[in-house]
């Protein structure tokens, strides 16, 4: 039996569970995402696609820290919400173009990430996670309190990104954002930085001895992930048109982390896929608030208890049974 000591040890990372199916399936998935809304004529289904992709992209961004530097961000909503409010406030108060506003939101979220990380990154991962969570709580209360600036619980109205009410432009903007984020994360993972992640994951002390500074690399990943969250938040602001402080609530963070875990940690595409399977039924249940949250809670508990590796883990297992994985890697399996 593993002792709590072993369990709580900060086992970084990725190297144990990067589930990499190679480029073909993931590429096909992205092609599907790119083409499907064109073929679907139903407006509601298209809306579901946007919401699914939005949550999927968030879960993917969250997976960048959870899956690769073993750092869960309990304050994900803070960065998302900061991005959204930054662009919202800039556009409504100073008439800045939404496209610049979104970039500003991304920068602000990155800065907040830098601040959070600088405060706590030297300590254990637990501190960063909890600190980020407090950031979210504090930002949420601030937006509630500063009614003159943010309109508090009344909601801040944000002008849309495009003139027309057609949903497709939004979908494709989000699609491009998601694709860019995916590619950047992949590039980082496959670069020297990614190599450092892997080294830290295998043995922190050896990595240190080889001149890898774990804090620095963790910071890079954390800040990038925060900035991406802010970027998505900025898009969300102009898509949804109204911002309320609930956006930074713990519930939002939990939804993102849940998708991340249900999809499978360390796979990037898993969370994206999970969002498309989980979000539509939940959107459908939106009117039954309590029932929906009860199901959410139960689902989380069940995944954690029954199969913590998530969907990506299941798919990997199936592939393994069918001996499909040629050239695909599940790090850690071959080494040990």
């Amino acid at each position: 039996m593993a002792t709590a000591e072993e369990r709580s040890k900060e086992k970084s990372l990725a190297s144990d569970r990067i589930i990499n199916l190679g480029y073909l399936p993931v590429g096909l998935f992205f092609v599907f995402l790119g083409v499907a809304p064109l073929l679907i004529k139903d407006e509601y289904l298209r809306h579901l696609f946007v919401v699914g992709l939005l949550f999927g992209a968030q879960a993917m961004v969250s997976d960048f820290t959870v899956g690769f530097i073993n750092l869960s961000n309990f304050g994900f909503a803070a960065f998302f919400g900061l991005g959204a409010y930054t662009t919202g406030l800039l556009v409504t108060n100073f008439g800045v173009s939404p496209f610049i506003g979104v970039i500003a939101g991304m920068l602000m979220a990155g800065l907040l990430g830098l601040f959070t990380g600088a405060l706590t990154m030297r300590l254990r991962g637990l501190y960063v996670a909890i600190m980020a969570w407090f950031m979210a709580l504090a930002l949420q209360s601030l937006t509630l309190v500063l009614v003159d600036v943010t309109r508090g619980a009344w909601g801040l109205f944000v002008p849309p990104l495009f003139e027309s009410t057609d949903i497709l432009p939004y979908y494709y903007t989000l699609f491009v954002i998601t694709l860019v984020i995916y590619i950047v994360i992949k590039l980082v993972i496959n670069s020297r930085v990614g190599l450092a992640f892997k080294a830290i994951g295998m043995d922190v002390d050896f990595a240190r001895a080889s001149g890898v500074n774990p804090t620095r690399y963790k910071m890079i990943a954390f800040i990038l992930s925060c900035a991406f969250a802010g970027w998505l938040g900025g898009f969300y602001a102009h898509f949804i048109g109204i911002l309320t402080p609930d956006l930074m609530g713990t519930q939002h963070t939990v939804e993102v982390l849940a998708l991340n875990v249900i999809g499978g940690r360390g796979s990037l595409w898993g969370p994206l896929l999970a969002a498309f399977l989980v979000i539509p039924p939940f959107e459908y249940l939106k009117s039954l608030m309590e029932v929906r949250l009860i199901i959410y809670g139960l689902l989380l508990v069940l995944v954690m208890v029954i199969y913590p590796a998530g969907m990506a883990g299941v798919i990997w297992k199936v592939g393994e049974l069918l001996k499909l994985h040629k050239g695909a890697t599940y790090f850690g399996m071959e080494d040990r």
């Binding site: 039996m1 593993a2 002792t3 709590a4 000591e5 072993e6 369990r7 709580s8 086992k11 144990d16 569970r17 959870v66 073993n70 869960s72 309990f74 405060l119 706590t120 030297r122 300590l123 991962g125 637990l126 501190y127 996670a129 909890i130 600190m131 969570w133 407090f134 709580l137 504090a138 209360s141 601030l142 509630l144 309190v145 713990t250 519930q251 939990v254 982390l257 849940a258 875990v261 940690r265 608030m289 309590e290 029932v291 949250l293 009860i294 959410y296 809670g297 139960l298 689902l299 989380l300 508990v301 954690m304 208890v305 913590p308």
Partner: protein
């Protein structure tokens, strides 16, 4: 500011401080012994409040018995949670234990909160008093209920400390929190210890909920804020320090009460958080955190 106001702010702060201290202790116990990031503290507190409410109003039990009912009920709920999902997960998940426990307890908390919402609707269920009347010292008065709630908080905190220090079981719990393998080698049944410590921690929350019923009425979402503050207190006091958590609880309780008095709703959160940031900038390990590795840093 009148003297009466100062007194009021202080009294409110102390009572809330007692609540936060209990909740922080609850968290400390679970994190220390089982390394669990627990997010269901608030929900156990809510369950305690509901149980006391029903025991007091429906069955007409006397106040002390109603609070005792809450204690027993929450202990059982805690033991059930530990025996069920937590131990099942412990057998499975090796890596990412912190994230797993966070998500599992958040899931449970969502479930309990909203189940309570469905069952009991978002109405406040409070009682006017357990014991009617106020005690006055000079020109200033404090209701007996507040005094008793504070007394019960102090009593449970002291009792827990004594229990952990002086009884066989308490020493076993501390042994497990210090070194599991060593404890196992000495013939301690770890699973029993886990169940008992989780139950005990939950019981702390339940007692808090029950004893504060006349001050903070029972409602489905009542536990969210105390849970947030409990974490804030633990971070502020330093993760390795249990008695620090108690002091921190009272500090935050008073800060909250003062901030509420001067700035109004919403601000206590922000101000407590700013204090936390300042403390962490100056001393990353928290006010009372020491470089000596505490029970949690094993």
């Amino acid at each position: 500011m009148e003297l009466v106001d100062v007194w009021n702010v202080l009294a409110v702060g102390l009572v809330r401080g007692g609540l936060y201290a209990q909740m922080a202790l609850m968290l400390a116990l679970v994190l220390g012994v089982m390394s669990i990031i627990s997010m269901i503290n608030g929900e156990l507190y809510m369950i305690g409040a509901y149980v006391s409410y029903f025991a007091f109003t429906l069955f007409g039990l006397n106040p002390i018995l109603s609070i005792a009912c809450a204690a027993v009920a929450t202990f059982l709920v805690g033991a059930l949670i530990e025996r069920g999902p937590l131990s099942m997960m412990r057998r499975r998940a090796g890596e990412d234990w912190y994230l797993n426990t966070f998500l599992l307890t958040v899931g449970l908390s969502f479930f309990l909160k909203n189940a309570a919402m469905l069952l009991w609707k978002p109405t406040y269920r409070g009682i006017r008093w357990y014991w009617e009347g106020t005690v006055s010292i000079g020109s200033i008065g404090i209701s007996i209920d507040r005094l008793v709630a504070l007394g019960i908080a102090a009593l449970t905190i002291v009792a827990l400390q004594l229990f952990l220090r002086n009884t066989r079981l308490g020493r076993a719990i501390r042994a497990v929190s210090q070194d599991e393998r060593g404890a196992m080698l000495n013939g301690i049944n770890i699973n029993t210890i886990y169940t008992i410590s989780f139950g005990l921690a939950c019981m702390l929350g339940g007692i808090a909920g029950g004893s504060m019923l006349s001050i903070l009425p029972a409602s489905p979402y009542m536990g969210t804020t105390p849970n947030n503050y409990a974490w804030l207190v633990v971070m502020l006091a330093g993760l390795g320090n249990i008695s620090g958590a108690v002091v921190g609880g009272f500090i935050i309780g008073i800060v909250e009460s003062v901030a509420f008095q001067f700035f109004g709703e919403g601000w206590p959160n922000v101000i407590s958080f700013i204090i936390l940031i300042i403390v962490l900038v100056i001393k990353p390990s928290g006010i009372f955190g020491t470089s000596v590795k505490g029970v949690w840093e094993q």
